[in-house]
Amino acid sequence: MLFAAILVGLVLVLLTGVPVFAGLALFATAIVYAAEGNLGGMADLVFAKLDTYLLVAIPLFTLMAHFMIRGKVVDDLFGAAHTLLRHLPGGMGVAAVAACTVFAAISGSSVATALTIGSAAIPLMIRYGYSPRFAYGVVGGGGTLGILIPPSGPMVLFGVVADTSIGALFMAGVVPGLMLAGIFAVYCMTAARFSRHPIPKEPRATAAEVLAALRRAAWALALPVLVLGGMYFGVFTATEAAAAGAVGALAIAALVYRTLSLKDIWQASIDATRHSSMLFLILAAAAMLGNVLTKLRIPVQLVELVTTHGLSQTQFLLAVMAIVFILGMFLETISIILITTPVVLPVLAALHISPVWYGILLTINLELALITPPVGMNLFAIKAITRASIGEIIAGVVPYVGLLLLGLALVLAIPSIALWLPGTMNYR
């Protein structure tokens, strides 16, 4: 009950529009001060939380994506996918999903995926006669794959907070990510076939065109192979993969494409640094809150509550997923991970739920959070590119909410969709 009161209080504080890190930190500090009359060793907590080698994976993966974007290496990703897939019904939609999938393997962010692919795909789809609603939906929905297909910023955060292998989480995201991409593609083909405005079918690409397209996209495809392959075969850890990927992206953009200036490199590192600063301040503030919750014995109480009521794994997961889904309408992904994970974690252990499996379920649910109104970062991303009305964009993504729920249900029912691949690797 106390936790429910704290959760409601917290959401109310955040709804005043104060910066999330300040809201979390003040809220936590006020409770500690009321309970103990001190500030709870705030500085030590902040230092200890930030002094974490694993976290540097986030700015480094951001840097990698930035080098690829600023170096124009990914500019042609949608064009190449379109050449390869245009003969399918709804071919441009399928191509947008494919481009999102590949970009998701370069970027750890869904918003960056929707922005990058969307600015190429949406105008072209509308010009070719697809309804705007369909175009917004496919990019909004497909873009959410950014955080499920590795690398993934939210998975790094979850891995650090839950003390779970980030490499295992990344690998566990691959099959569910590809499965969802497949579901999205099938949906696009079906929707195009039964659409009231028939979309003209395009001719199949010739062998020469296919070859040219593959050549244009080769470097964008090679980088994820290096990064994910290196992790899968145990050559490097997630953090090392991030550094190797950033250096690799730098080399591709600067030496192969020759499109990256020193100024671009510097600007990319400033942007990546500023963003991770903002992100990690929230992490540090959430650590203060987690500390308070532990002092109030809330995680322990939750374990007792769950065990005395004899909740099964499935019942507990369904309850948590419902709560995360509701939080996802109002909060962004980072806050949800950082607020819920410390509380849920002891229950996972008590019920013998694999934290890797839970991490994937959580991530799919966070994909939903990105497109469920009123707060859905991908909705705002599409609005920023198209200036369309938010209502029109929401109407476009509604089918993808359903498809993501289907994916969530599948991974919940069949854990090996997520756990098979990490089970086969020798991750470090």
Binding site: G17, A25, L26, A43, P59, T62, A243, H275, S277
Partner: protein
């Protein structure tokens, strides 16, 4: 007053430059450690520790600049529709809360360093560094953030009520 504002903005700009340099250095030394281990079978145990300290410095020193650029995430589902006075009050409340938490963190950070120096606290790792050196980033960054919040507060107080604006999610989003 205006020149103080300019000075603080310049300091925040300098902070983010140091922070970005720390990110690039982290990239280089982590990549270096992979190369050394994989090709030369040589371990570099100092890298993990140093990268942790660089991250603390980079997060704390970039915070003030991120504040000036309005990049700190806030939940604006209720407040974005406000105009005029209401919007101004929300902005002032946000900046005031940042100033308060930054002041507390500076205070506690100075305490932490005094303690580390008193007991000559050293890191457990390979570097055996005196802990107060990497810890310095916490009070310095927090103080910079606090002063930045005060400067931004005064500027927002004096400014005419803002008009509604649309969100502009950045391509660098780490959110998700």
């Amino acid at each position: 007053m205006k020149s103080i504002g300019r000075l603080v903005r310049a300091l925040a700009g300098a902070g983010v430059v140091v922070a970005a340099a720390a990110t690039l250095v982290s990239m280089v030394i982590v990549a270096y450690s992979v190369v050394m281990r994989y090709f030369f079978n040589h371990r570099t145990p100092w890298v993990d520790e140093l990268v942790g300290y660089l991250l603390v410095a980079s997060v704390m020193l970039a915070a003030a600049d991120a504040l000036f650029r309005g990049e700190h995430i806030a939940v604006d589902v209720l407040t974005e529709r406000l105009v005029g006075r209401g919007r101004k009050i929300v902005a002032l409340l946000g900046l005031a809360s940042v100033a308060v938490i930054a002041a507390l963190l500076t205070w506690e950070g100075v305490d932490m360093i005094a303690f580390s120096r008193m007991v000559d606290l050293r890191s457990n790792g390979y570097l055996a560094a005196p802990m107060w050196v990497p810890q310095l980033a916490v009070p310095i960054g927090a103080a910079l953030l606090g002063v930045a919040a005060i400067v931004a507060f005064i500027a927002a107080w004096r400014a005419p009520p803002p008009t509604p604006e649309s969100r502009d999610p950045s391509i660098a989003a780490t959110d998700g």
